[in-house]
Amino acid sequence: MSAQLAMPGTASAGPILEVDALTMRFGGLLAVDAVSFTARRGDITALIGPNGAGKTTVFNCITGFYRPTAGALRLHRDRGGVAELQRLKDHNIARAGVARTFQNIRLFPGMTALENLLIAQHVVLNAATGFGIGALLGLGGYRAAEAAAVGRATAWLRATGLIERADDPAGALPYGAQRRLEIARAMCTAPALLCLDEPAAGLNPRESEELATLLRAIRDGAAAEGAAPTSVLLIEHDMGIVMGISDHVVVLDHGKKIAEGPPIVVRNDRHVIAAYLGEDEEA
């Protein structure tokens, strides 16, 4: 298996997610208009664009919070096979291997950091309990599963520098730590594709730099003990981060894809500059 894992950033890897003519319409408003792109396995793919470009809408379609009006979203599973995300309910999308974070952090504030990470492993753990009945009677199989889950959670708390705060309520953590905890929580679902919605929003430059390092490590499977390489899809406003860590950039404007390619190419694209500077493209 490991031989098949492509080196990060190389073009030889197959796709992890294919977005095919994705269209989303809210009433009369066409928020996303036939957008197609491919995120490759082992890449960090960035989705950028000015405000109102439709990034978050694309994102919400991929993660199942919106049902697209038309188009297809194909997730290529690790073990082969394709999941048609647009046909799945949101919690089944997560089970298919897509994890996400939220633009305005959505942790479980009254529960500790550790508990947050255990809930992320609910699907596995719950099955190990025999859906509650076995665990209620104290059957042994669950103990091993729980110990493994705590081990994974601990590894991710270390990876995000939160191990000291493991028993603190998530709501009591500083903002930057909450952002990292949310990423750790998403990673605890052992996703094939990690989707981050503006992970650097509100972070100071030092924290942003740490975030970039963490994301690279996640891509390479080096972030935490026992972590597998994970493809990343992110929406980000901070161009420093996007250009620094992305392998592939997709640019949206007014619900349409206007450019795509490696950061260096996109940065110099005439349409992209025009979209960001608000100039008339015909000029």
Partner: protein, 427 residues
């Protein structure tokens, strides 16, 4: 000081003016029906004056004392203290409950009160699963209590099943109804869920009231079999196949009361045990996560509907157990026992106790139901006091008695989570 006193007097005078407006018509003029059938007014100005004086004095005291509601839950220090107290308090309370029937001076009346309180403790713990842990606002919990009671009565009377067969069946039937009612409505948001559960509670009561062939309607069902001590009836005859005869005791009616007391104690403790255990399991954590943030749960692959349903069904099941117990204890049930006010009282116990806190719920049940019983000589006034107590406790302690939350797992020492961080759900 003088200025403060002056301000307080002005406040009190204003309050008195409002009180006068409130009472002048409703208390000052009482409508009575004359023998001829027409209405006439009786004037009671002295009562109005008395009430106004009371309001004046009360308001004055409140402003001078500076009685102010807590702004936000408790400080972490106090939360820790409460938790520490709880660790001693809960076993002490349990020990007391265990020996109660044998404490000298505890008679039949006290035991009956104990049974009543424990019934509400159990109902509170059952509803706590739904409201406190999963954050689902259920205003119709009494429906499951009713389903349990009627299931027991119908199964026992029509098929002659014994209590020990009927009890699990009543719980299962109640859980089944919980799933049946819960399935379509659990995706509704907070207050909509509240009102629909209330409506279901009322529907079940109205059906029980009107389906006379099955339930005997408003007259209720009588002659429900009393519980036996695993087959040995409690009887005054003293025959060898009765409880007293078998154990060679002097036959006494108190035996049954003591048995019922321990029965409800065991049922309540079962509820508590299951809840505490499940809270440390994935499913229990998922309930709490649901209360904290449903959208995040969905993003983590948790099947929200199924998770809500388990909470709803489990809560309903314990309600059903309590209902079966109620039926066998009373020997008589009618729809009158299952009105909305029961749901409100149980919900009040959960919220006053501090949502999600087992010990808080137990204390709230003791205070509310015990207190209610203390005022029994006041007749109609006691309901008034009960309602007023609900308002006052909420104003003084919006988060209930125990607002903090104990984590279900910890790497180091388990520390209570202050109420300020814990959310109460929108579902």
């Amino acid at each position: 000081m003088i200025a403060r006193l002056g301000g307080a007097i002005r406040d009190a005078a204003l309050a008195t003016l409002v009180a006068f407006g409130l009472f002048v018509v409703m208390v000052g003029l009482r409508t009575d029906v004359a023998p001829g059938g027409e209405l006439f007014l009786r004037q009671r100005w002295a009562d109005v004056a008395l009430l106004c004086a009371l309001v004046f004095a009360g308001r004055l005291l409140v402003s001078l004392w500076g009685l102010r509601p807590h702004s936000l839950g408790q400080s972490p220090g106090r939360a820790a203290l409460t938790a520490k107290l709880g660790t001693f308090f809960a076993p002490a309370l349990l020990a007391f409950a265990l020996v109660l029937p044998f404490v000298p001076g505890i008679g039949r009346y006290e035991l009956d009160l104990g049974i009543l309180v424990l019934t509400y403790v159990m109902l509170g713990w059952g509803l706590n699963i739904v409201v406190g842990l999963a954050g689902l606002l259920d205003l119709g919990y009494v429906a499951f209590y009713a389903v349990g009671a009627y299931s027991y009565a119908l199964l026992a009377e029509n098929f002659g099943f014994s209590f020990w067969i009927c009890l699990p069946l009543a719980g299962i039937l109640a859980a089944f109804w919980g799933i049946l009612l819960g399935f379509p409505v659990l995706r509704l948001r907070g207050d909509y869920l509240a009102i629909v559960t209330l409506a279901f509670g009322e529907i079940i009561r109205i059906v029980l009231l009107n389906w006379t062939e099955l339930t005997n309607g408003p007259n209720g069902m009588t002659g429900i079999p009393r519980p036996t001590f695993f087959g040995l009836p409690f009887s005054m005859s003293g025959e060898p196949d009765t409880f007293a005869g078998f154990f060679g005791l002097e036959p006494s009616p108190i035996h049954r009361v003591i048995f019922l007391y321990y029965l409800i104690l065991v049922l309540a403790l079962l509820t508590n045990w299951v809840t505490i255990r499940i809270r440390r399991q994935p499913i229990g954590r998922a309930w709490e996560a649901l209360r904290e943030d449903e959208i995040a749960c969905r993003a983590l692959g948790i099947n929200v509907t199924a998770t809500k349903l388990t909470a709803f069904a489990l809560g309903a099941m314990f309600g059903g157990f309590a209902g079966a117990f109620f039926a066998t204890r009373q020997g008589f049930i009618s729809p009158e026992s299952f009105t909305f006010i029961e749901s409100a009282i149980i919900l009040a116990i959960v919220v006053l106790g501090g949502m999600g806190s087992q010990i808080g719920v137990a204390v709230a049940a003791i205070v509310m139901i015990g207190g209610f019983e203390l005022f029994r000589d006041l007749e109609e006034w006691r309901m008034l006091v009960f309602g007023a107590a609900m308002v006052v406790i909420m104003v003084l302690r919006p988060r209930g008695l125990v607002g903090s939350r104990t984590p279900s797992i910890a790497l180091g020492e388990r520390r209570a989570v202050s109420a300020a961080h814990v959310s109460e759900g929108k579902g």
